[in-house]
Structures are given as C-alpha cells and as structure tokens.
Amino acid sequence: SIFIPQKLFGEVTSPLYPKPYPNNFERTTVITVPQGYRVKLVFWQFNLEPSEGCFYDYVKISADKKNLGRFCGQLGSPLGNPPGKKEFMSRGNKMLLTFHTDFSNEENGTIMFYRGFLAYYQAVDLDECASQPNSVEEDPQPWCQHLCHNYIGGYFCSCHPGYKLQTDGHSCQAECSSELYTEPSGYISSLEYPKPYPPDLRCNYSIRVERGLTLHLKFLEPFEIDDHQQVHCPYDQLQVYANGKNIGEFCGTQRPPDLDSSSNAVDLLFFTDESGDSRGWKLHYTTEIIKCPQPKALDEFTIIQDLQPQYQFRDYFIATCKQGYQLMEGNKMLLSFTAVCQDDGTWHRAMPRCKIKDCGQPRSLPNGDFKYTTTKGVNTYQASIQYYCHEPYYKMLTRAESSESARGKYTCTAQGIWKNGQEGEKIPRCLPVCGKPVNPVEQTQR
C-alpha cells in the first residue's frame, strides 16, 4: 500500500501510465483527504484487460470498509466491467484503490498491451449534520445533541435557547439564568416546550427594548405549569415583573390574560421544583410606541399647528396664537412654543396660553392730546385712538399724501405697537400756527 499525502485533489494512475502496465503487479493506493471531507473519485481513462468477473487484471475500489466495485475492460466497451462515468464517493476521508495484474495479457495467442487507467479524486465537504450516527463506526463522531451547523471542512453544534453547549462541543445542558431579548418582538418559552420542562430550573428571561416603547405579552396555548388546588403555585411558578414591579405570578392550566406592562423592561422568572411533567408555557411579546395625550388648547386664541390624530414618543407639536395675541407660559412671554412627547407618555412642557396683545398707554402728544375711538382706557389689540392738536394754535403735521380720515388715527396692532397707516409708529407732530391772532387788531375810527 502506498499512502498519498493528504490533499484536496489529485490523480492516481496505473504504473508507467500511459505506457502499458506491467504484469504480475498489485498495488493499493490509500487516498486520504483532510478530516471533514469525503473522497470523490472518477476515471478519465480506463484500459485494462477485460475478463469474466475481472478475474485477471482489475481495479478494486473500497471505502469505509465497503467494497465499491471491481473493474476491468475499457471505457465504452461492453467487455469486462468498466467503471464508466461513475463517481465513487467515500463516507469518510479515505478511499482505497487496488490495482492488480496477472502474469500475461495474451488474447488468442497475441500479446496485448493495455495502457492502464487515469483517475482523478477530489475532496468533497462532508455534511456531518446530514449523516446519520452509526454506533459501529471505527472512529465514532459524537453528533450534536440539539443543533448542528455544517461548514466546508467541518461542523459545530449549538443549543436551543435556555441550554448551554458543554465543553465537549456536542451536548447541551439547561442554562436559562440570564436570557436577554432586545428585539422589538419575539417568542419566549419554557425549555423543551411543548414537551415537559426540566426540573430544578431557575430561569430568568429579560426583555429590554428601547425607551419609548411599551411591552405587551400574550401567552399561547398550551399553558401548563404544576399547581395545587388549594395553595397558589407551591411547586412551579412563573413570575412577571415590569420595571422591577411584580405584575403577576402564574401557574396551572389557565392561560394568563394578555399583559400590558406599560414599561420597556420586563423580566420573567420561572422556577421549577424537582419533579413534574407539565408542558410549560410560551408567549409572544410585542412592543408599542408610547403615546402622549392629545394636545388641547386652553383658550380659543391658541392654535396647534398641523394637529395630528395621535402623538407618540418623540413627536412634537408647535403652538402659536391668533393674530393680536401673545404666547404666555405663566407670566413669561414666549416667542415660540414647542412640546415634545417623552418616553413616559407625557409632554415635556405644559400647554401655553394666548393673551391679547397690549400696546400700553399711548404716548402723549406735545401740544395735543388723544381720545379713544374704541373703549376708553383699553389699549389691547385693535383698540383705536385719535390724536389731535390744540387748535387753533397748533396744527397736525402729517405726510402730504396722508388722507384726512386717517390723520392722527392710531390702532393697536398685532405686534403690540400703536400704528398709523401712513405714519407708522411715529406719533404726529403739532406745529404752531403762525399769523392767526385770536383777537386781531381792528380799528374803527377812520
């Protein structure tokens, strides 16, 4: 036997190939590929002396202690038993190829020359996960107790949630003391569900989602935890905590009601005693974004821009006032107002109010005065006053293009300023009237 060094591919030929092979020859070639692979072999050239049952010259293929065939003849010829295009596959990483020739190659007194064979082999990944375990194997491979994951050239095992892969890399032991779930939704169940859960469990399943989300739990059927007729959950218990606060302890066969935790952090503690064959529990958890109360204006002058049917975490709204009104937060005047929905479902600022703009007392007019054309003493938005000069000694000076009706008339604007349509904010001026004595000289005697 000759051992070919471990390679991923190679070729095997008869001696002296492509020259005719010698007589009286036998050799076994051991083809080996790396662990985790199988051997695949095909013949590209095959030219041996044909014989009944390949008695004289032959190639024998075997692997995994099994004979895969004995071959002679020529490819494409019915004589003998040529291998054709057949692919020979091992189950392990070895294949044996035996080449045997007898003492002569003579046919009807004529010496025949046969060139032999050329075979190619390659390493093919062994899918350990698909193979069935065989207790009589020479080198028994322990398969995965729970989950098997194949890769080229190897495999590895993993365990179901709640179990921990042991150091042997194959077996799984219950371990559920710190299971963490962070996805927005998912399923959690007791170990082995719906098969009976193991005894002596101290499981802790924690759900932690982003703040601003609230968790909803929905238990599925079947729900089965050991219980007692008279005593509440003495053997096994499933306890549910939301933000550290206990919101329920469950056992028995009655599926718990749907739970709204009002929290983004839920813990499920599952304790089991040393015996029992209840099937356990399973729940589906989902999240919902926290919502804030619908904003409502406190008075008829406040406007909530783009009012939405619903507001949730991180949403905001802007409040403004109708024209002529001022945003107030308590006693403080605001230039603008925005409120943001917080992760606890409250607005970060209370709704403001709108107070009517007040222009204040009108400025006094030197050498003149003013009177209210609206309610006396009221200086709020849309109030109106009329300035006048002390005639006939003074006369109001206004722009040339200003109309008589608008002269001296000021209105409290939405900006909180007294304004005239032409003069703007500037109050008019009263200028002296010259050359108009009230009592001009008049002489009588002539």
């Binding site: 000694y393 200028l431 002296p432 010259c434 050359g435 004595p437 001009p440 000289v441 002489q443």
Partner: protein, 241 residues
C-alpha cells in the same frame, strides 16, 4: 411807538418784550424762537463788554403782567454774520435769533407770526403794523402799543437821507416805512419788534421787517430789516437745531 394806540390782549400775540442792553422787542417764530434785531444784543458804540443777560418775556400786553408771567431762558443766540457792531452807520444784517430753552405753550395771547415768501409784501404804500413797548410821548411805555404805517418808496427814503446829509447805509436788505409828514413812527425801545402785514389771500399776519434804525423818531422814515432776504438764513438756523 409814536402816534399809535394801546394794543389789546391777543392783538399782537407774537410780541416779545426783551431786556438786554435796555428795552427791546422781538417776535415769536414757531414755539421756541424769538426774532429780534442784532443791535439789541450787540449795540453799536457800546464800550462795556457784551455780557449782558438776555431776558425775554412773552404772553401779555402789560409790562408788569408780562414780567409776572416769568422770563423764558435762552439756549442759544444766533447773530447774522453780516451784522457789524463796530460800524455805527451800517445796520446791514440787523437780525438775530434767540432759541428758547423750552418750547412755549401757545394760546390766545401767545402765537407765532409767519414769514414772507414774495416781494408783494414790500409794495409801495402797503400798510403794516409796528408794535412795541418802546418810548411813546417821551415816556417809556408800560403797555404794548402799535401804529399803522405805510411802506415807503425807496427813492424817497434815499432822497430824505441825502437831504439830511446822512451817510447811513440803506441797503437792499432794508426797507423804509412811514412818512416825514406823519407823526406815526416807531422809536427807541421798539427795536427788534416786527413790521407786520396782514395777507388778505391767506388771512395770515406776516412779519415783513424788523424795527432797526431811524433818524430820531416821528416825522420821518423808519428803517426796517427786510425779512424776505433773510428767510433762508432763518430756516437754516432753525433746521440746524
């Protein structure tokens, strides 16, 4: 005021009573300016320093009452640049403005007079009124008086001066009023007051001149600063403030 009569309250509400280097007059412009003659502030042939106090009174026809109403402090004095204090016979630029520290409240006894805007106010024979607290019948007046005088022909006034062999300057920035045949005239103490004309078109009283100088008083021409020539200067002085 020679040959005139007592003014009533409200007849000449622009009349100011000044006491600077003696008694003088003035006229209210707007509500914080007093128009007067420069020589009341800087008299000619004045030896002592020009640091007299400027006392201005407004709002009455009685000297006693006008003083009781209180003086009006002056913020600024503005003398026309053409005025020459050192030239005794030259009253060119005899015009000044006094800016009051505080605006006055106008009323029936205190109103401003207007300024002229064309030459028709100086037409020969146009009648005007001169008012003042100056000498009357050789006595210092204790009440405001006024006299009505005609604007005279320039040539006549020139001839009259020449006849008196006077070398006084009678420039285009002056005009003359009165007549040698008339008793009526302004006199010492009236300087600074205005020659006022009633404009029939606008029904306004317009100050066309300032009582400036003359040769004695009565039976002669009086000479007045021609305000039309100084309106631009007045506006400029007022606008600067």
């Amino acid at each position: 005021i020679i040959g005139g009569q007592r003014a009533q309250l409200g007849n000449f509400p622009w009349q100011a009573f000044t006491n600077i280097h003696g008694r003088g007059g003035g006229a209210l412009l707007g509500d914080r300016w007093i128009l007067t003659a420069a020589h009341t502030l800087y008299p000619k042939e004045h030896d002592s320093p020009n640091n007299a106090t400027v006392d201005v009174f407004l709002g009455h026809t009685s000297v006693e009452e006008i003083m009781k109403l209180g003086n009006h402090p002056i913020r600024r004095v503005s003398i026309h640049p053409d005025y020459r204090q050192d030239e005794s016979n030259n009253f060119e630029g005899d015009i000044a403005l006094l800016e009051l520290e505080n605006s006055v409240a106008l009323g029936p006894n205190l109103l401003p007079i207007c300024l002229p805007d064309n030459e028709t106010f100086y037409d020969n024979g146009l009648m005007g009124y001169v008012s003042g607290f100056g000498i009357t019948a050789e006595r210092i007046a204790s009440n405001l008086r006024f006299v009505r005088l005609p604007v005279a022909r320039r040539e006549a006034c020139e001839n009259w001066l020449r006849g008196l062999k006077r070398k006084d300057v009678f420039s285009q920035s002056m005009f003359c009023a009165g007549d040698p045949s008339l008793k009526q005239d302004s006199c010492q103490g009236d300087s600074g007051g205005v020659f006022a004309v009633r404009d029939p078109n606008s029904d306004r009283w317009v100050a066309t001149g300032i009582v400036s100088w003359g040769i004695g008083c009565s039976r002669g021409y009086g000479f007045y600063t021609k305000l039309l020539n100084y309106v631009d200067w007045i506006k400029k002085e007022m606008e600067e403030e």
